[in-house]
């Protein structure tokens, strides 16, 4: 695996997530963007850490990948609660 391949997969997922966010069509369809964007960022960060890391700092990419995934979960929790509240009104 090359760093370009990992970044290309991350780019494809990020573009797909951006499309889901911009497309509209209801809260559930737009909230799909959050985990997809998180997945793309996580793959790109982990790939950069594994394949293009300097010896001085090999773990930052993995760390950021995990933090981005947890941040996506937090945003999804809030977004789902907001969407449910809007649907209940």
């Amino acid at each position: 695996v090359s760093v370009a391949a990992a970044l290309a997969v991350g780019a494809a997922l990020l573009a797909s997530g951006a499309f889901a966010a911009l497309r509209g069509g209801g809260a559930a369809r737009q909230l799909v963007a959050l985990p997809v964007l998180g997945a793309g960022a996580a793959i790109a960060l982990a790939g950069a850490a594994r394949l293009a890391a300097g010896r001085a700092d090999p773990d930052s990419g993995q760390e950021l990948a995990a933090l981005v995934a947890v941040a996506a979960l937090a945003a999804t929790i809030l977004g789902v609660a907001w969407a449910r509240r809007g649907a209940a009104r």
Binding site: A12, G24, P35, A42, A52, L78
Partner: protein, 179 residues
Amino acid sequence: MGAYRRALNTALTFIFAVCSGLAIAGSLGATLGPAGWRTPSLAAVAIGAAGAVASLSAGLAALLVLIALGGSALLIAGLPGPAQTGAPRSGGASPQRGWRAGRWRWGQAVGAAAAVLLLAVLLYAALRGSFAGGHYPGGWFGLAGLGRAFLGRDALAFDAVAAMLLVGLAGAATARARR
């Protein structure tokens, strides 16, 4: 030793390719497919992304990605359909509904154009950028390294994301209580 390393590299490349394909197919299914596809597609995104990250010698990060994205998929699966959340449906008779459907189609076209532009820019940066290849000195799971980073060097960032998760849970609980 050389043959073993070559076989390991081939296996990891195969796993990365399969998991990446699964994640991309899942993201397209969740974005473009009908509402019934959303949950299995997001599960495919979670499994594919975790597998791809695991094949990059980041076992602990892959576990966290699987838990976080799988949890997100389960949460989104419980949302009501487009009829309850106010999404426009095609085939309306009134002029207002027709105007709304036209605006939605415009939004789709602009979103697709923006996504294609983003993909082109990111692919150009990925394929044309002169990234320096480096030998990875860590292990395959990364528990010790990530533990040191989370709880030592970058404890503030770890606390910030934990606080973000706490705010999300508190906001969800508040919204549930008001409903």
